[in-house]
Amino acid sequence: MILHEQKHDDIDIVVLSGRFIMADTPEVRERLKSLIDEGSGKLIIDMEKVTFIDSSACAVLISAFKNIQIKSGRLVLVTSPVVQSLIELTRLHTIFEILPTLPTALDAFGAN
């Protein structure tokens, strides 16, 4: 998988692409943790280009969600159909804020 970081005003954006599975979790978990620690509390994880995801990768998303809640921040996920269907299968769509595209996610943060 490929992890790409960008910033829009004070919003951190992490763009993931390719397969996101157990082999990738240490690096992604680490990156998300330090971004959340140092960031403004606004984070978008863009998985529109993720082609496969497993339960261990979902655990990384949950971990990020919990870390950002401690900081009273906000996490928005952008999902591909493959990611979305696994999130729904594991009922995680009831806790995550999910938007269909990066622009709508940016809108949600009031970015222009």
Partner: protein
């Protein structure tokens, strides 16, 4: 219209018990299932169940130790795909229940995914046993029996209809 036979011979895939091996195996298996079924959805379901199963074998059966083998046997019978995931590590003595954990739990979703993505599954522990019968001169036809498990394998069979 002639469609040449739907039944294919199986393919056996072998990887090392490392997390890096899971992706290539997942992709190969997806292609096999897509080829046999023509259904992207079915291939995705199976890949999901198999990737979770492989993660479990690597983490739990092999306790994250590399250098062990995992064998995946793929085969098709009529409108069923059968996938066997074989390891030689720690055996389970009962199956985990397929329920979702608390929302914020970071583990325990694998078995639920396996359970949800296939039509049927079962787990088998196969032991290779050496049975020794020792006859001693005193004691007529009586003997001492000794049983030693020489090797074993764990087989998780996943069945998917299409």
């Amino acid at each position: 219209m002639i469609a040449t036979k739907l039944k294919h011979d199986g393919v056996t895939l072998k990887i090392a018990s490392t997390v890096e091996s899971v992706s290539p195996l997942g992709e190969a298996l997806h292609a096999l299932c897509l080829y046999a079924t023509g259904s992207e959805c079915c291939a995705l379901d199976i890949q999901r169940a198999v990737v979770e199963s492989l993660n479990n074998v690597i983490l739990h059966a092999y306790n994250n130790q590399a250098g062990n083998d995992i064998i995946v046997q793929w085969s098709q019978e009529n409108r069923f795909l059968r996938i066997e995931i074989i390891d030689y590590g720690l055996s389970m003595s009962s199956l985990p229940t397929a329920v979702l954990p608390a929302f914020d739990a970071e583990i325990g979703r694998g078995w639920w995914i396996i359970h949800s993505c296939v039509d049927d599954y079962y787990y088998k522990v196969v032991e290779c046993i050496e049975r020794e019968r020792v006859y001693k001169p005193e004691g007529d036809s009586e003997y001492f029996e000794d049983i030693i498990v020489k090797s074993h394998s764990n087989i998780l069979t996943l069945i998917k209809q299409f």
